[in-house]
């Protein structure tokens, strides 16, 4: 309570000044009156009594002042007047003030924005209770080239049933659904979950309920919606509960709606990485539970028991996986026993590492970059404040001579700094507030936890700290110097004629050199990333993507039950599309070649025991010709390659080189599955080899791809059309064509292939653009730094220049003097930056595509840019030096 009284009184003294002053007046008058009464009582005349009473007070005004002091408000009043004074002083130096505030605002703003993104994605606890007990568990078959995989259903069930480490386990997989019954039919990512997953995460629906274990086991058709989906589809949570929605035309009853903040799976996860709009029971069939041992689809999440460490849990899972094969179907067990390469491994990681792995490095790079911008900016502010303080030493000396206390001067200076930094900080905070939504909007989709990003207290504390530290760091030095160098000297003006102390000059030069070195590092980083991005954009994807448009179609197998129905649909669609004006060619493939993730194992005839992994693409019609993949040997698949005729396959160059490094692959045979006697898969004949097709433009490991004719049961196809004009113009015509055949069919994304390729680089593009921005900012700030220092040096030496000129020095010599100073500073900075960058850019290697971290072009361009900028910055000070008027310069003393 005491502090409350204290501050109440203090505020009263500050803001209710007249009352407090009146009270003081009354109190003292009361004393005087009583004193007079006493004196009169003792026999003095009234006049005498009054005189004595007043003199005992020793001066009312002084006494009042002391009382005000005692109330402890004087420092507050003084501070307010100091603030007013500081604002007045700063307004007299608008260029200085605006520059400093702008630099501070920018640095603090971008740091705050980037910091809050990085903080949310990498450091903030997940929005699940006891989130540090959550682990992500994976398995893997390193011997077959799959070190990390989600779980298969039998393996998950075995681990879930027999482990001793987890309080609860759950699993999920995402799946694309056609959703109808809630607005227009469309495609939507859904997730199939075990009922236990809600409990594992510790989140339950905000409305309604979650589905139960029993509903899961009995394959009940119940669904839980996300808040956003319920809002969008039904206009509210109340309207959604109990409604029926259709997933792939199967009715599901909505039983629950998740809280608004719930987003799952978390974007950017290693597997099943799209946030779902609807959650349904996983509802495994008996076959799933026992037979499907090679469908690795299910991401496993578990909650550790309270006394179990991650390492122990990992060992537990690993031990179980060594035993799981015993429960496999005999055929599978037999097959695996022939394969020495087969062994199940596992990884148990903190759940957050499920999604931070891919983004950690780039995000930390961004954080480092803005940190560097902040350092450069702070150096600017430091030098500007420093040179301003040095320029004001005479003023300080004069004020000291007039009786200002040192503490008072220190405070005045600090308050000036605080005014600057608080203004800068506040503007920076606004900047962050405005840029953060932009940052989120342009961030790549796979950035985890995008929806959670917002200004938070950590960041506010961070801003406050930076803001308050700045003036303390930069104001006191020059002032201490003023006091040290002796006020009398200052007053005599010696502080002006002699250039400032050596110590100071070294400090300021060091700051500018550091700025240049840091700017060098940042420019190099941005340069390397840009070059890498350009290389990736220009990379040959292995086919001709221009004028291609693709529509994703998944036929619901509940309606399209027979393969003939599926085949009929696609045949009619393709022939319909080819009649559209502007269509040159059309075809269909199960996946676009860069998108395929259907990993299979294949065995090779004559190479027993050798298994390879490959991605498969099923093609319909002249799809390969349509893509214009480069044929290296043999021939492409043709419409005549029908099922039932000898099975044919076209393979990618990478696979050909791996399997037959020296021989001709044409006419050789491969088949799906491992090489064992009871493998019932037919042999496929290799008829052609095509150049590698990239998964992402910037991936450099070539992929093993198999192109096969389309088995008619494949219900998910990408219809690809090559157009003569702008492919996007055909999007709606294609959609109409599809819905003419099946009006209720939800068509997935219709995108040009160029767009899809472009999207594969969105993360790179995002971070490269940001880094370019930061590098430019660093460059500008470094330019400001050197310009400021040179201008300051020139101003300090005006007198000297004047003398030189008066003694007959050539003006060109002065120009040279300034330019040498500039070159010495920037040259040193560039040299240091070069050395640092040579070592530091190695850390970038993993982010670069076909670009050496010591890329010569970048390492030539960056120093040139910096040197140019330094020279440009020295123009104004040089001009000032050359145009020094000797008379004015000398008279200034």
């Amino acid at each position: 309570m005491r502090w409350f009284t204290k501050w109440r009184l203090r505020f009263q003294s500050l803001f209710d000044r007249s009352r407090v002053e009146g009270d003081l007046e009354d109190e003292l008058r009361d004393y005087i009156d009583r004193e007079i009464e006493r004196e009169v009582g003792a026999g003095a005349t009234p006049e005498e009594a009054r005189r004595r009473a007043l003199s005992s007070l020793g001066g009312t005004e002084r006494l009042k002042e002391e009382c005000r002091d005692a109330r402890g408000v004087r420092w507050l009043e003084d501070t307010l007047s100091d603030v007013r004074f500081a604002v007045r002083t700063l307004r007299k130096a608008p260029v200085f003030t605006v520059t400093v505030i702008a630099a501070l605002a920018f640095c603090i703003g971008v740091n705050t924005a980037i910091f809050s993104v990085v903080d949310t994605v990498l450091f903030r606890p997940l929005p699940f209770p006891d989130q540090d007990r959550l682990v992500a568990v994976t398995e893997g078959v390193p011997g077959f080239g799959f070190p990390v995989l989600p779980f298969s259903c039998p393996d998950y069930l075995f681990v879930a049933a027999h482990n001793q480490s987890f309080a609860a386990t759950g699993t999920y997989r995402t799946q694309s659904y056609e959703i109808s019954g809630a607005g227009l039919p469309r495609r939507l990512t859904g997730a199939r979950l075990t009922a236990s997953l809600f409990a594992v995460l510790g989140v339950s629906p905000a409305y309604g309920r979650a589905f139960t274990q029993e509903e899961d086991e009995h394959s009940k058709r119940v669904a839980v919606l996300t808040y956003g989906f319920a809002q969008g589809a039904f206009g509210g949570t109340g309207q959604a509960l109990g409604r029926t929605i259709f997933l792939d035309r199967i009715p599901y009853t909505v039983v629950g709606i998740m809280p608004r903040s719930f987003s799952f799976p978390i974007a950017g996860s290693r597997f099943n990485d799209h946030p779902a709009g609807v959650f349904v029971p996983v509802s495994w069939s008996g076959e799933d539970r026992q037979q499907n041992v090679s469908n690795f689809d299910y991401s496993m999440v578990a909650r550790l028991r309270s006394n179990v460490t991650i390492a122990r849990a990992g060992a537990d899972v690993h031990r179980l996986l060594q035993r799981v094969v015993e429960n496999y179907p005999p055929k599978m067990r037999d097959a695996l026993s022939h394969m020495p390469n087969f062994s199940l491994e596992s990884q148990t990681l903190p759940f957050r590492e499920e999604f931070t792995g891919k983004v950690e490095r780039p995000l930390l790079l961004l954080l480092a970059a803005v940190g560097i911008v902040l350092l450069i900016g702070c150096a600017d502010v430091a030098n500007l404040m420093f040179s301003r303080m040095v320029g004001r030493q005479r003023e300080f000396a004069l004020r000291t001579a007039l009786g200002a206390g040192r503490w008072r001067l220190v405070r005045q200076t600090l308050i000036e700094g605080v005014v600057l930094s608080v203004t800068g900080g506040a503007l920076g905070f606004c900047l962050a507030f405005w840029t953060l939504p932009l940052l989120v909007r342009f961030a790549p989709d796979n950035l985890p936890r995008l929806s959670e990003i917002g200004l938070n207290w950590r960041m506010t504390a961070f801003v406050a700290l930076v803001t308050l530290a700045t003036p303390f760091a930069f104001c006191l030095g020059p002032l201490a110097h003023t006091f040290r160098s002796g006020l009398v000297n200052q007053l005599r003006g010696e502080g002006r004629t002699t250039t400032q102390g050596k110590h100071q000059r070294v400090m300021m030069s060091a700051a500018v050199i550091t700025q240049f070195a840091l700017a060098f590092l940042l420019l190099t980083t941005a340069g390397l990333l840009t070059r890498s991005l350009l290389k990736a954009t220009q990379a040959d994807p292995g086919f001709r993507p221009e004028h291609l448009i693709s529509a994703q179609i998944t036929l619901p197998i509940t309606v399209y039950k027979a393969p003939a129905q599926i085949a009929g649909f696609f045949d009619r669609l393709l022939s319909g599309l080819s009649t559209l004006p502007g269509v040159r060619q059309s075809g269909a493939m199960s996946d676009l070649p860069m998108g395929s993730t259907s990993n299979v194992l294949i065995s090779i005839e004559g190479q027993s025991g050798n298994t390879e992994r490959a991605d498969t693409v099923f093609c319909r019609g002249n799809a390969l010709e349509l893509l214009r993949v480069t044929l290296l040997r043999g021939r492409l698949l043709q419409p005549e390659d029908q099922i039932g005729k000898p099975h044919t396959v076209v393979i990618s160059e990478a696979l050909a080189k791996r399997v037959w490094p020296h021989g001709d692959p044409i006419g050789r045979h491969i088949r799906f599955g491992v090489d064992i006697a009871n493998n019932g898969e037919p042999w496929l004949t290799v008829v052609g080899v095509v150049a590698d097709v990239k998964a992402r433009l910037n991936s450099d490991s070539p992929r093993s791809l198999l192109f096969l004719t389309w088995p008619e049961w494949v219900n998910q196809m990408n219809v690809v059309v090559r157009t003569s004009g702008d492919p996007l113009l055909l999007a709606s015509a294609i959609r109409r064509q599809i819905n003419r055949l099946d009006p209720s069919l939800a068509v997935g994304r219709i995108e040009t292939v160029d767009q899809i390729l472009e999207k594969s680089l969105s993360a790179e593009r995002f971070r490269t653009r940001l880094l370019i921005c930061f590098a430019i900012a660093a460059l500008l700030l470094a330019m400001l730094g050197i310009a400021g220092l040179l201008a300051y040096n020139t101003a300090q030496r005006t007198h000297e220049f004047g003398v030189r000129l008066a003694l007959g020095a050539d003006r060109r010599a002065l120009l040279l003097l300034v330019l040498t100073g500039c070159l010495r500073l920037s040259g040193t900075g560039i040299a240091v930056g070069l050395l640092v960058s040579i070592f530091a850019t190695r850390a970038l290697a993993s982010l670069l595509y076909e670009t050496s971290p010591h890329d010569l072009g970048t390492f030539i361009a960056v120093p040139s840019i910096l040197a140019f900028v330094a020279l440009a910055a020295s123009m104004f000070p040089a001009w000032r030096a050359v145009h020094t008027d000797p008379m004015t310069a000398l008279r200034a003393e």
């Binding site: 005491r2 204290k6 005992s56 007070l57 020793g58 005692a70």
Partner: protein, 119 residues
């Protein structure tokens, strides 16, 4: 005032620092009172040795009020004048106890040195 008076009376400046506040707290512990009465009481109780003028008294009172050890209340006197009455707060009572203890220790220590035990 005669020179000899000054010699005999002690100004608060000469007092050990903090002693004035101890004295004020002690007197206010007896009963709430106003500034003038307080200075009179001080004079009385110390048999005219301690004379605290308003120049020291009022800043000290305001400081104690600010610290929250004493609180003030405006009352109307018989002559209808506004009079500021000070009284000890709970925190002030605690402060008085601790300062008294300090004083005992300090004065004891000083006496030990200045007035060595005879015999």
């Amino acid at each position: 005032m005669l020179l000899s008076d000054i010699d005999k009376t002690m100004k608060p400046n000469d007092l050990v620092q903090g002693t004035l506040s101890l004295l004020i707290l002690r007197i206010l512990a007896l009963e709430p009172t106003h500034g003038w009465a307080l200075s009179q009481r001080l004079k009385q109780l110390s048999q005219d040795v301690l004379q605290v003028g308003p120049g020291s008294l009022y800043p000290a009172l305001h400081k104690l009020e600010q610290e929250g050890w004493i609180s003030a209340e405006w009352l109307l006197s018989d002559t209808k004048r506004r009079v500021k009455f000070y009284s000890l707060t709970k925190a002030g009572r605690k402060q008085l106890a601790s300062q008294t203890a300090d004083w005992k220790r300090l004065s004891g220590a000083i006496s030990e040195i200045v007035l060595p035990a005879r015999g």
